[in-house]
Amino acid sequence: MTPDLPTAKAGSTHLLEVRNLATRFATAGGYVQAVDGVSFHIDEGEILGLVGESGCGKSVTSLSVMRLIPNPPGEITDGQVLFEGTDLRQISEQEMRRVRGGSIGMIFQEPMTSLNPVLTIGRQITEAFEIHLDLKGRAARDRAVEILNRVGLPDPSKKFDDYPHQLSGGQRQRAMIAMAISCNPRLLIADEATTALDVTIQAQILELLQSLCDEFKMALLIITHNLGVVARYAQRVAVMYAGKIIESGTADEIYADPQHPYTTGLLNSVPRLDASARDRLESIEGEIPDLANLPAGCAFEPRCRWAVDRCGIESPVQIPVRSSQGRLAEGTVHQVACWESENIAVGTALEKQPS
């Protein structure tokens, strides 16, 4: 893995590098800053997990990368989205259309919203071939059937002529994945793509995506609230809360040594399959904040048991995580945005008394 070094030139050494992305929405109650200065990168063949609860901005982040934010009311106000060195924010809409479904594929949670109900499954895949690969007729059909077979759709040559309503939920999801991967994307964004599926079907699909990453060096951005899925598949993880990335690092670092109180809380609040029953879950008190009405300083401060005065005033910046000896481990990618993280790590932080 390449260390997270800032690159001086406008380009980027990463397949996708998002720098300081900011997206807001105009609402009746003023602007809502859904994504607030998000930076991350993803390399060839790599799987990055972007985790967070509802409303944390993970979907808006991916839609911003694809330039699919409806404007109005949405608006990308700042940042760069460097894909293979090109800033996707600067190219024309026509050029962007070649990127979408071409070198960047995307799959969503609800397959029915992404499939056209009046076109056959096959037509929807071959349409992409005509646009991106200039492939038509018999050749396009053969290739589409091959891809449908690849995603594990039973009887693919028959399914090619089926309409979306003739497929089951899991089959539709697989048809959508077939569409997304049909043009050999360099990057696939999976936004809660397996959340609505049963676990056995979820496992089938994620195993398939992982094999595509191994085989074709495709990069995969998994956006999910499921910490288990990320642990199983992702090499690196970024945790979002209220529009910001509050912690990022390798999966091993995040899960074995979480630094942010929110990450720790999240990990402690999920029931685990391998944990003995009836241990009390450590829940995070309070509710997810309203993005239109964020507290000053750290957004997690009202729910945080380690919060100090500074947390309510000044928004924390991402800093590299130091080892217990206070040294920076070589090539570390573990970063956290918390004023008290070092005190918490060495045990000198003071716990807030419950009010």
Binding site: E53, S54, I201, A231, D252, V270, P271, R272, E282
Partner: protein, 345 residues
């Protein structure tokens, strides 16, 4: 346990005496719910049936939680509804504290409606948007005559809201003013209002965010300890079910594949379906995940209109043989109350 046939002797007085001695709150035996499929123009006739629940047996002790897991279409929700007689079973028996509910009329069912409650999955769809939190929680008190006058009713509602972790000052607010977690708390308070001894929890946390999910699970655990309530906890999330359940039943296509104590089932899964299901659930620990065995099942759940012959799981089973198409495996106790329905293991 004494079984009492009811309906005949209690006649028009309606009230049925329950057996309060027994430790078994609920006993379900060979429960079947089949939905008819009819076809034909002008002359409609039944041409088939969706076998949503097809011969399910289990019991739930007082203060116990039985988890019911399975994928979509496995019949777990229909089982819950059939127990509450919200869906009349096609055949089989449901005994609640010794009373055979399938033989009870809708009118005679009334007193049981307060004792047997349900919490729904969707905290948005299960609350009437035109009623305030106070009215929602207060309605069962009025219906079942559990509150005296207006003041007593209001005090009881405030007490219930407080018990589920809500501020009683929110009594006049409407559902749209609450978050998903708060709405689920209101749904729980409404269920508690009837002073139930048994609650069907139908996917009560699956629509909630993880940090909120933990709050609700802890609340359900606390309430059970305090009021000695039995839960039938229906969920597709195996980790959640393991956490909350004393015993767990695994369903597939309307049948129970395996039933054991929570600990036993997770430490020693025996049925090939249970094993595949467990291996498909990722554990939030990347180092552990690298060592875990992954069994990926091929294909989808078959249609319950035309389920496979013999063992319903055989079409996706990694160890199925020809024999599995012939024999319907029975749920057999393998010792330690660990029941498995498989002829191969």
């Amino acid at each position: 346990m004494t079984t009492r046939l009811v309906g005949q002797d209690s006649s028009d007085r309606g009230r049925i005496s329950v057996d309060s001695e027994t430790n078994t709150t609920l006993a379900v035996n060979d429960l079947k719910v089949h939905f008819p499929i009819s076809s034909g123009f002008l002359i409609r006739r039944q041409t088939g049936a969706v076998k949503a629940v097809d011969g399910v047996s289990f019991d739930v002790a007082r203060g116990e939680t039985l988890g019911l897991v399975g994928e979509s279409g496995s019949g777990k929700t229909t089982t819950g509804r059939a127990i509450l007689q919200l869906q009349r079973p096609t055949s089989g028996s449901v005994q609640f504290r010794g009373v055979e509910l399938t033989a009870v009329s809708a009118k005679q069912m009334r007193p049981f409606r307060s004792e047997m409650q349900i919490i729904f999955q969707d905290p948005y769809g299960s609350l009437n948007p035109r009623m305030s939190a106070g009215q929602i929680v207060g309605e069962p008190l009025t219906v079942h005559g559990l509150a005296g006058d207006k003041n007593q009713r209001r005090d009881r509602v405030a007490e219930l809201l407080e018990r589920v972790g809500m501020n009683p000052a929110m009594i006049g607010r409407y559902p749209h003013e609450f978050s998903g977690g708060q709405r689920q708390r209101i749904g729980i308070a409404r269920a508690l209002a009837g002073e139930p001894s048994f609650i069907v929890c139908d996917e009560p946390v699956s629509a909630l965010d993880v940090s909120i999910q933990a709050q609700i699970l802890n609340l359900l655990t606390d309430l059970q300890a305090e009021f000695n309530i039995s839960y039938l906890f229906i969920a597709h999330d195996l980790s959640v079910v393991r956490h909350i359940s004393d015993r767990v039943a695994v369903m597939y296509l309307g049948k129970i594949m395996e039933l054991a104590s929570s600990e036993d089932l997770y430490e020693n899964p025996t049925h090939p379906y249970t094993r595949a299901l467990m291996s498909a659930v990722p554990i939030p620990d990347p180092i552990l995940e690298r060592r875990r065995e992954r069994i990926v099942l091929a294909g989808d759940i078959p249609s319950p209109i035309n389920p496979p012959s013999g063992c319903v799981f055989r079409t996706r089973c990694p160890i199925a043989t020809e024999e599995c198409a012939e024999v319907v495996p029975e749920l057999i106790d393998r010792g330690n109350r660990h029941q498995v329905a498989c002829i191969k293991v």
